[in-house]
């Protein structure tokens, strides 16, 4: 059960290094490492020497993307122990960055949403960010009733991890908070929620 066809559903157009940028910052999570690894061979020395990479391996740790990224001759590579720590460092870097930097974000939708939100908070127009969805389809969903956010939602309906209501996941997306919206599915007749379907593997 999913409500689709809503315009706010983000579109991730893919990452391609901008040759004009004076600094390239890749913000990657999990399988998002592949968005850079897949094109690393095509990046010239000029771009590699201006490239910094922030990476959190999360569930992709056994696949060792981090070692492959670290082996490339980028200007800087840093692996964070968690997404929260990565986002914190990303925010600090944005606070001192200058115009001319180009930001590339890749990973799960929940990760992209949080990184985009961090960039918006630093005055960046989200249309100037490049994003690429890699890895799980799991969603980050906000309960419209209690406002609690649940990460890695794989089914619809699902049980809100904060207030316990069964929530229907909509394609309705908030760019401001970087999450899809979940609405109580059995408000009229509590207890009649349909069984969860795995929609976001």
């Amino acid at each position: 059960m999913l409500v689709q066809g809503i315009k706010s559903r983000p579109v991730y157009s893919g990452i391609k290094a901008d040759p004009n940028a004076v600094r390239h910052l890749f913000v990657l999570e999990g399988e998002g490492a592949l968005a850079l690894l897949d094109q690393a061979a095509t990046l010239g020395q000029d771009i590699r020497s201006k490239t910094e990479v922030l990476y959190a391996s999360t569930g992709s740790k056994p696949r060792e993307h981090g070692q492959k990224l670290a082996a490339l001759d980028f200007h800087d590579y840093w692996e964070a122990p968690s997404v929260a720590v990565l986002l914190n460092r990303f925010g600090v870097m944005l606070g001192t960055a200058k115009m001319g930097i180009r930001i590339y974000i890749s990973g799960t939708e929940g990760f992209i949403g949080q990184a985009v939100q961090m960039a918006i908070d630093h005055g960046i127009d989200h249309n100037s960010l490049m994003t690429e969805h890699r890895g799980s389809e799991a969603r980050r969903v906000q309960c419209v009733h209690c406002k609690g956010i649940t990460d890695n939602v794989r089914t619809s309906p699902f049980t809100c991890s904060h207030c316990g209501l069964p929530l229907l996941v909509r394609d309705h997306y908030s760019h401001r908070i970087g999450a899809f919206q979940g609405v109580n599915v059995d408000a009229e007749a509590p207890g009649t929620a349909p069984p969860p379907e795995e929609l976001f593997p």
Partner: protein, 321 residues
């Protein structure tokens, strides 16, 4: 068709502010307040001289919240089609004009962390209103203002007095001072937006440098109003109206259509907004595209024309108008 919301105004004051630049203060004849506008807006001023009706766009330079009147600054253009010469030489305090509702094609991006304004010559005018708004909202901004001579540059002294020499930098050609664009653009904090207003060469030069330094398109803003260039006379067949009109050498198609009593849509009259885009069904001759709006492939197709500034070199064009 367009709804006429023009306001009848009286010229309350005319001030010579620099060589060839006059400021006009316009107040409503009916005593009502002027609409509040946003910095960067322009109005279309309608002036009647005998049988000729001219309509030219001018940026509003007065404070956006000042509803007692609008102010515009007009540069006397040498090869004028008549608008600036008429305002400079014929219009006296007390005369009547009409003005359109304000329209903003050059707004401040409110999400920006800092606003970098670059003006060349008379391109200063939209920034006068913009700076008033930015200052009132406590937003970070700086102005880099290029003038030919100190005498040609309108308002630089007043602006430095109001906002300080740190925020208002003046560069004078005559003193061999030029805006150090490269150094400025390379050292701006994230979230800065760039606004350029001035001659086409300056706009293209500054925006080109910004793109080359990795500035994203979303942070670049420019405005240049074009006067419809002079050309050769031709015939325009207006298919929907069932009329054939003569477009004179000094007229735009839009002006010729209006003179024939046709209410064609328009907003900026300067090739920027896209409102007057018209389909071309036939053309004997070549279209001279003078606008900033159509995409190159649209211009190449020969099927669209912006009738406020573009014309043809040829004998006849048939329009879906």
């Amino acid at each position: 068709m367009t709804v006429n919301t023009d306001m009848s105004v009286r010229v309350a004051a005319i001030t010579q502010v620099a060589d060839k630049v006059k400021r006009f203060r316009l107040v409503r004849e009916d005593g009502q307040p002027m609409p509040v506008f946003s910095g960067g807006s322009h109005i279309v001023v309608g002036m009647r001289e005998g049988a000729v009706l001219r309509r030219n766009p001018y940026s509003l330079m007065s404070a956006p919240g000042d509803t007692s009147g609008f102010e515009i600054s007009v540069l006397r253009v040498e090869k004028s089609r008549g608008g600036s010469a008429f305002l400079h030489e014929k219009v006296k305090p007390g005369d009547r004009l009409t003005v359109s509702q304000p329209l903003n094609l050059f707004p401040v991006d409110q999400r920006g962390r800092k606003h970098l304004l670059m003006a060349g010559g008379i391109g200063i005018t939209p920034f006068m209103a913009m700076m008033d708004q930015l200052d009132r909202n406590n937003r970070a901004f700086e102005l880099h203002y290029a003038v030919r001579t100190r005498g040609h540059g309108a308002y630089w002294r007043e602006l430095q007095g109001r906002y300080g020499e740190q925020r208002v930098k003046v560069y004078c050609d005559e003193e061999n001072l030029f805006i150090p664009t490269q150094a400025i653009l390379a050292n701006q904090p994230l979230g800065t937006h760039l606004y350029v207003c001035g001659p086409a060469g300056m706009i293209n030069g500054v925006l080109g440098q910004a793109r080359g330094l990795g500035w994203p398109a979303q942070n670049l803003h420019a405005e240049e109003f074009l006067a419809p260039p002079l050309g050769k006379p031709f015939k325009a067949v207006l298919a929907k109206s069932g009329k054939t009109i003569e477009v004179a050498a000094h007229q735009s198609i839009l002006e010729a259509a209006e003179a024939a009593g046709i209410d064609a849509p328009y907003l900026c009259r300067g090739g920027a907004c896209g409102q007057c885009e018209t389909n071309v069904t036939a053309c004997t001759g070549t279209i001279e595209h003078n606008d900033h709006f159509l995409e190159p492939q649209d211009k190449a197709s020969g099927r669209k024309i912006m009738i406020c500034v573009s014309r043809i070199d040829g004998s006849q064009i048939t329009l879906d108008l």
